[in-house]
């Protein structure tokens, strides 16, 4: 029997939002880019600085991906194949960076390896700082995506290979790796996309000659007001992102096909002998990478203005509100986050229900459409709003654009997380309920709803932190009085004076705490989808 199809109408809000606030702005950018004087396009494209920006964007993204995989794969192995004390806590700790605002990540790395940094080396303005921050930020993607499949791989396949005479390394090369390849490629594609469209990190840790396309779009559009140049760059960006997404989508579909997957608990065991060292190293490295930068923020907050104390908190109050209004930034952030969170639930969940019930045709099409914003970079989105939303009604100064942008950014993550849960509610459960006498509405209330609730709560929490941390789009569309915490941190950091710096760290810590709590909650609820692609 075919599963019951959910009415396509449920996806209407998501599709409307996607068309008005995503497809149209993107189309406008493309039109501006293509519509520009051909000489201008060529001029922007062959300009030495553009070429070197594109080249740098590409190779730093590739390098970030390789490094993240190098650190992440052993960790994925350790987390999925072994049970060890503190595993749950370690998982939370390596996941936090993924939801940290990029501005906070950048500031943490500046405090660690920037001028006067804790480690005593100044790598700011070098590619190393950018790569380190990208690895920090993306480790969870590899650990969760690859680990997710790895923990379900049947260990007997590897044992069968060993009993047929394959040495441990040969087993890994000929059995494990090919079986994991789809998830490794999918995770790699996502890390590449995130690094390719890196904004906050590249803006704060980069240098004029080390800048990403994303940063250049922002500079051209917001600082130099050269809209055609920004549009051409955005076009290049969109092409790169689309290519990445296609690779991702093709491999994501193939993951797990034809494999005999086991429940994760059946494959994990306690490490013995030499395995203990292996697990310690494999988990310890990403743990250190994840924890140290966060610890540095805490350290800087505690030691601001000399000795240990709460100087930073006082600094927050001491910032001149006419320069950066910290109080209103906190208020705005919370307000936007609540709106974005509600909007995401109302829009993305019904769409997820439709996608889950239709594996082909419209479901696939919808899935791809709503996944697009994930790669299309927040800055491009914000830029698109500015270009497109002046007619028929001029929305460009409307405060609501910020939470809408946040919703679009959060939607792919929420859909990724909830679709598998909805799909897991097999038709046999609903049939069992109806055979036991439940009417259709009752089936939905007693079976679907309780099973969906954790996923929905997880989705809401995720949308909340994504909104709190969003930077690129907000920087573009926030009105002067409508700045958020991430924008405030950026402004504070850009201004001289120890008070501003302390306040930036204090705000960052606030975001770290909120993010950490949410990630711990999500992990406790076993909400799927966090960093898993």
């Amino acid at each position: 029997m075919t599963p019951r199809r959910s009415p396509a109408l449920l996806a209407l809000p998501a599709v409307t939002l996607g068309i008005v606030f995503f497809a149209w702005p993107m189309a406008s950018i493309i039109a501006t880019g293509i519509g520009a004087d051909p000489g201008r396009i060529a001029g922007v494209l062959i300009k030495g600085s553009t070429l070197s920006t594109v080249w740098f964007t590409l190779w730093q993204a590739a390098a970030s991906t390789v490094l993240t995989l190098l650190v992440g794969l052993p960790a994925a192995y350790a987390f999925s194949r072994f049970r060890f004390p503190g595993r749950a806590l370690a998982r939370v700790l390596v996941t936090i960076p993924f939801v940290l605002p990029t501005v906070v990540v950048a500031i943490a790395f500046l405090a660690l390896i920037g001028p006067g940094g804790v480690l005593g080396v100044d790598l700011a303005g070098t590619v190393w700082a950018i790569l380190a921050a990208h690895v920090f930020f993306n480790l969870a993607v590899v650990i969760r995506t690859v680990g997710g499949l790895w923990s379900h791989l049947d260990p007997r396949l590897e044992e069968a290979a060993a009993s047929l005479g394959a040495k441990p390394w040969t087993v890994f090369r000929t059995i494990t790796l090919p079986l994991l390849r789809p998830s490794i490629t999918a995770a790699g594609a996502i890390v590449f996309l995130f690094s390719f469209t890196s904004f906050g990190i590249a803006l704060l840790l980069g240098a004029p000659h080390l800048t990403t396309i994303e940063v250049e779009i922002y500079r051209s559009a917001a600082l130099v007001f050269d809209l055609p140049a920004a549009a051409v760059l955005a076009l290049v960006q969109v092409i790169g992102v689309t290519a990445g997404l296609i690779i991702y989508a093709r491999h994501q579909e193939r993951s797990g096909i034809g494999q005999h997957l086991l429940p994760a608990a059946a494959t994990a065991q306690r490490p013995v002998g030499r395995q203990r060292w292996l697990v310690t190293a494999a988990v310890g490295t990403p743990l250190a990478i994840s924890v140290v930068p966060i610890a540095v923020i805490i350290w800087r907050v505690l030691t601001a203005g000399g000795g240990i104390g709460l100087g930073s908190v006082r600094a927050l109050g001491a910032v001149d509100p006419s320069v950066v209004d910290v109080t209103s930034a906190i208020g705005n952030s919370l307000q936007f986050a609540v709106i974005a969170c509600t909007l995401t639930l109302l829009v993305a969940l019904p769409a997820a229900v439709v996608i889950a019930s239709r594996r082909s045709g419209m479901g696939r099409w919808l899935d791809t459409l709503l996944m697009l914003p994930i790669g299309s970079s927040a800055v491009t989105l914000g830029f698109g709003f500015v270009v497109a939303l002046d007619a028929p009604v001029d929305l460009r100064a409307w405060w609501g654009l910020v939470p809408i942008a946040h919703t679009l950014v959060a939607m792919p993550f929420v859909i990724r997380g909830t679709v598998p849960v909805i799909r897991s509610i097999g038709p046999s459960l609903r049939q069992a309920a109806s055979v036991l006498g439940a009417a259709p509405g009752r089936v939905w209330r007693t079976i679907d709803l309780p099973m969906l609730t954790p996923a929905a709560a997880g989705a809401a929490a995720l949308a909340f932190v994504i909104s709190l941390g969003e930077f690129g789009a907000t920087l573009f569309v926030a009105r002067p009085g409508g700045k958020t915490m991430t924008v405030a941190i950026f402004s504070l950091f850009r201004r001289p004076g120890p008070t501003n710096l302390s306040a930036a760290f204090a705000l960052s810590l606030l975001l770290v705490v909120v993010t950490g709590v949410v990630v711990a909650l999500l992990e406790r609820m076993r909400a799927p989808g966090l960093g898993s692609f």
């Binding site: 044992e159 069968a160 290979a161 034809g258 005999h260």
Partner: protein, 328 residues
């Protein structure tokens, strides 16, 4: 050729295998029979080198296998769900072990192995397009292709349909006879163990409870556990005085020490007749007769009846002393 002595395996706190001794001769098939959790699969995995052994020794052709890693043991293992590599086709699955050995004529040997299990020409088939029976045969071919010194089969027919099981059991027996590889088969199915094993070892809670040829294990099980595992129902408690066992008024001449004894009444030994009356617990039609389960000596025995009987009814029962064995 294979000697397992005092094998003990723990999984954390759990004692999976507790001092098991086994021997296997050339051209012999040994069936390890036991319920789930009896440690039979663990014994197999220990011999293959896939679980750490706490104590005891495993020697193959007088060579201690302890320090040898699984990939150098030359022991073939067929897993319960076959564990075919999903990313390789049938030919590459079967050729995997040959490539590990660096065999020069791998393709020829793959053809040979597939022909042996009756699957010629399936080399390029994807493994997820095989039926259950085909998958089982591919798994056998993959394991036999590198010509292992010893073959281990973990529930080789366990995941197949009952019909298919019977056919494949016969095929498997013929294949094992033809190849002459010494084999250990793990199963929870008594019929399968008796059909495939030259000898049967029964495992109960990690210990070897009995070993012997199938007919001997069946007719003279050592204790009640073994008797139940090989499918006996008629286990009753009796009082023995002067070489006569008394069960609910029935007198059975027997050679057993004085006092309380546990007796096995083998199928067919209890029948309708005599003067002692017993209560029917339940009955079922077996065709052509009915089988009545009758309460006796704290247990029950099965009695054949030419006519339908129903629970609660009483019938007369007598017992043929030749069909009675004393259990430990």
């Amino acid at each position: 050729m294979l000697r397992v002595a005092d094998l003990t395996v723990h999984y954390g706190e759990l004692v999976a295998v507790d001092g098991v001794d086994l021997t296997l001769e050339r051209d012999e098939t040994l069936a390890l029979l036991g319920r789930s959790g009896s440690g039979k699969t663990t014994v197999l995995r220990a011999i293959a080198g896939l679980v750490p052994v706490l104590s005891g020794t495993i020697t193959l052709d007088d060579k201690d296998l302890g320090p040898i890693p699984p990939h150098q043991r030359g022991i073939g293992l067929v897993f319960q769900d076959f564990a075919l590599f999903p990313h390789l086709n049938v030919g590459d699955n079967v050729g995997y072990g040959l490539r590990m050995q660096g065999t020069t004529d791998a393709d020829g040997r793959v053809d040979e192995a597939l022909a042996m299990v009756g699957l010629e020409g399936l080399q390029r088939r994807r493994v997820d397009q095989l039926s259950g029976g085909q998958a089982q045969r591919v798994a056998l071919a993959r394991t036999l292709a590198p010509r292992p010194r010893l073959l281990l089969l973990d529930e080789p027919l366990g995941s197949l349909d009952p019909d298919l099981r019977r056919t494949l059991a016969e095929e498997l027996r013929a294949l094992l006879d033809r190849t002459g590889v010494p084999t250990i088969i793990v199963t929870h199915d008594t019929e399968e163990a008796f059909a495939l094993g030259d000898r049967v070892t029964i495992l109960v809670e990690g210990r070897a409870a009995a070993t012997g040829p199938p007919d001997q294990i069946w007719s003279e099980p050592r204790n009640a556990d073994v008797a139940r595992i090989v499918g006996h129902n008629g286990i009753v408690t009796a009082t023995v005085t002067n070489g006569v066992a008394t069960v609910d008024g029935l007198q059975i001449p027997i050679s057993a020490p004085e006092g309380t004894a546990t007796l096995l009444i083998r199928p067919g030994a209890a029948r309708i007749g005599g003067t002692v009356v017993a209560t029917v617990i339940s009955s079922r039609y077996r065709g052509p007769d009915w089988v009545a389960t009758v309460a006796l000596g704290g247990g029950s025995v099965e009695v054949s009846s030419p006519e339908p009987v129903s629970g609660g009814q009483t019938i007369t029962v007598e017992i043929d002393p030749a069909g009675v064995t004393t259990l430990d």
